[in-house]
Symmetry: D2
Subunit: 330 residues, 4 copies
């Protein structure tokens, strides 16, 4: 039985808390949030303690592991505090917006022998796992090209964007991680283009809403990522892996398999599951279970802080490439 | 070079005439229709002679074969006249509405050694051919069930229906032929249900607009056919063949492969090709070419007047079953 | 908080027990099975009591409702005992194999004012619910034809079949219920055909493995059902609802959305979820939750013992029709 | 009746010749090829004259238009000779491998008032036309991103590659044209990555086999193109157009709509139509008919030599970008 405390009672924190609470081999001990009322509501709902004091919770002997779902600028501090307190950590992405700070944190974690898993949930989606498995069995031969489509249903509020680190570090970072996961080889070069097609005023904060990135590995494998902060038809999440012996694709999820035929259109499928908490429900649940298993078995974390750092580095390179018009070496 | 005369310049006649005219190894010699103006228009368009005199055309030495696309009640007379004149015949379905008359005609054709192909065009659709080929290679093992969906976009005018012989003999007859083609074994029992869901006034002429038929072969294989005279989403033509080792299906055709994604629906395909002349363009062309090849090579006709008779017999059984509520032995 | 006891620790019982145990507003109190060890294993796993004594459990004041997943021939007895003990009942299908016994039981339940829900789980599948919802909003106009495809991956063992009541009462009964659910009008006539294509020896027990049934309502709406005890490609569960203004379909479920492209085939999807416990996971969970809600709110049961009786009646009619070759009035 | 001569009796020439010969409003007068035997075979088959003398054919008064399907390095010379002889021209892509030479040719064509259409056949595929039409009706709002997938079934022989101008000018040039066709706005910036994943020896001739290109327009719209000289699953030709109000996609073509279900895979579709002459049969036919119509009506050519030049310019930019690692201004 893994005893877990959750830090951060916001949108993503709620997902982790619910998964911990419904996992038969996990005991959700406490939910910590500086905004006490949110933690209290969630704690009451899930039948655990609420707290506004991270240090007190980290000091508890009956906490084996923590899930960090707080604002990005607190990730490193909390992660290190948890590691020093001997807790295993599942930390939300991105590890930080500053790669130097991320590097220092990783050095410290490794020095302390800390156990940290970075929460790139998409890797744990059943379709992603099946893609990886099929690649590993050699079904499509040698990978040549990976195409990642990643479009949000609607842009986040401006106040969120101001602290997000920009589209590459906040949104595309998931796709950079999936690129690494699917390519099976480190990208060494990044080329990016970035536009403001939804909201020209993003220029005020130096951000973009529509981007395309191409990655290249040493071997010459290629990966294309396209992102947009809004899609009229919903949350679009697709992967295509093209190899020497075949191709694999996944598709978006919908509430049911019902299809409609009328005079206007045939075989029309339902709207997409709207956003990440609906689309990646299974992924989040699998992620937590895999974290729990790794902690209890003492096996290596499937995604580490170094993976978080590497995705952040790709995001930095993409931003530099978009601003300079040059391919950037990773 | 096969020299062909067409009888009947109506809707289906036009399809055959165009296929004959564009077939590089066929010479369309004449178009015959009692309504002279239609034949003349079509003949002018395709660059051949027009006539209102069937006998004169059948007497021409430069005609090797005739295509009969006249009203049903003239099929037998024209077919026999053509056979007696030594012409090969491609005759539209149904062979006749009266099975006794069909039987007499077949006996006479066989006595004369006549060469008659019945125009069940759906057999020659590329998808039907592929289904048959896949069945023959044993891909799905032993056939257990066949499901045929056959819905027209809109009902024909009442004046057509009055002389049509009823839905089973006019419309479902195509599906009875496809059932025989796909099952590869004769049905021995027919059960049918018939309703008037579109036009209750069809009771006046003893006809129906919505029917379901189940067939059974001696071995116990089963076939379901559903027909409706109208479908809001267009001309629906689907086959499913379920065997001991797998299943095969075909799908409807659309103008292009474009799919649409909006907030209301995703992956929506185009409306169906509207009716048989658009849907079965390739089937009609293949049918004519196969007729031409068989005539010139002297090989057996792939669909004979006996096949036309058998489909008509199934239609008669279905009508009897619908009226009596009893399974009818074929 | 609904306090529930489960009767029957077999395959389906396990599904209900797990759903009850994981439902936050339900307390699974006891699992009852004459084979003590199975109940004990399951009870230990889910953290509740095990018993071999139905009467003792029915006498407990801390049990509000019972789920009956025992062999069919015990359904009526247990159901009535539970009703007399004042418990709400969720009972597996079929209500019984003998319609006279079912009718007596229903009369008694109604006399006692008992609360019984029959467990036709397929109604509660998300796709079934969406089909029903779309029909109710008038999306496809007036229903004309319903097509139900229902094929099991592999036949059950002979020992099961001997006590199953035959394919119509054991397997097709689900489809009869779905026909009623989707048609929205009672069938008044049944025509059926039945074959032994997998196992000719089923003749020894008077059973069949491959059947087709057509139903007709008073208004003339039609429904086709095809069933087979084995399908090489897995558990095939499809519904098609054709109306005056359009058509609705659902599709089978697969583990993920991954599609494969190779030289041999393109766009190939994964094998189907294998059987009912995987395919109808959500349906069983929704069913239990809807039962719980109805019991606690005191609202009418969405599926009653009468619905169970009606499906059984259709099964009896189908068997009679298959044996006599006559349409049977319901 | 348009009187046409064909130059070049190779693979693509044969397609154009067949389309001209079967077009009812076209008279195919002559086929010209320095290798006399190929032209003679084709001419005999299609019933027209053969020649090895381009000048003699251009001098014929009974030739209104010429189709140029000769090797690329003869395009400009033949095109200008034809224009000077007062003939309308349909010329295969690319216009030339040297953009300076293309510019000179265009200046001369325009000085002479010549009528030249460049044969970018993919624009005339029914799906491409439907995509363009749907964009024009505003169905998907403002275009944001276009994704073009373009993979050949197998690489051409080395001898072809040596004179091809390289993958960008030979293969991707079609995709550059489609990017312009779909974006509806000129790309102003090109970023490209190029690898040798199939044949490392392509380094000897400075060519690549696997490329990714991103384009950006002044407004900020983006287009991604991925190309590969080989795909195990066949000729892969897909377009995706993502706009502010929705998305459009087309799909590859297969011989029929048949789908297969087995224990290994479900819903598996047929292999793709293998290469351009099968995939783009309709496109080539439409292209010729549109050329004929424009010539006879005297209306503007739908694709001009300038369009050919612009695609070539994008190819040159892509090559420069791939070699320098810099975004290149068009």
């Amino acid at each position: 039985m893994l005893r877990v405390a959750l830090f951060g009672a916001g949108r993503v924190g709620r997902i982790h808390a619910t998964n911990a609470a419904s996992n038969r081999q996990t005991d959700l001990v406490a939910i910590v949030d500086p905004f006490g009322s949110e933690a209290q509501d969630l704690a009451r709902e899930l039948g655990c303690a609420a707290s506004t004091d991270p240090e007190a919770v980290l000091a508890r002997a009956d906490v084996d592991a923590v899930v960090i779902a707080t604002p990005t600028n607190t990730h490193v501090t909390l992660m290190l505090a948890a590691v020093r307190a001997g807790k295993a950590v599942l930390c939300e992405k991105p590890i930080d917006l500053d790669i130097a700070k991320a590097d220092e944190a990783i050095a410290e974690i490794e020095r302390l022998g800390g156990r940290v898993m970075l929460a790139f949930n998409r890797r744990f989606d059943p379709a992603s796992q099946e893609l990886r498995r099929a690649i590993d069995t050699g079904e499509i031969g040698e990978i040549r090209q990976v195409i990642i489509t990643s479009r949000d249903p609607a842009p986040p509020p401006r106040v969120y964007l101001q602290h997000s680190g920009g589209i590459f570090r906040d949104m595309t970072i998931h796709d950079f991680d999936m690129a690494r996961f699917l390519l099976g080889e480190e990208p060494v070069e990044v080329m990016a283009t970035a536009s403001r097609l939804i909201d020209p005023d993003l220029a005020e904060i130096g951000d973009f809403d529509t981007v395309m990135v191409n990655l290249r590995t040493e071997f010459g494998r290629q990966c294309h990522i396209n992102c947009c902060r809004a899609a009229a038809y919903g949350y679009d999440q697709r992967f295509e892996v093209f190899g020497s012996a075949g191709m694999l694709m996944n598709d978006n999820l919908r509430p049911t398999t019902v299809r409609r035929w009328s005079g206007a259109a045939t075989d029309a499928r339902e709207p997409l599951l709207n956003f990440f908490f609906e689309r990646y429900t299974d992924a989040f649940r699998n992620e937590f279970e895999i974290f729990r298993t790794a902690v209890e078995a003492g096996t290596p974390m499937p995604v580490t802080a170094r993976d978080g750092r590497q995705a952040l580095r790709l995001a930095d390179c993409a931003l530099e490439s978009a601003l300079t018009g040059r391919a950037v070496r990773v």
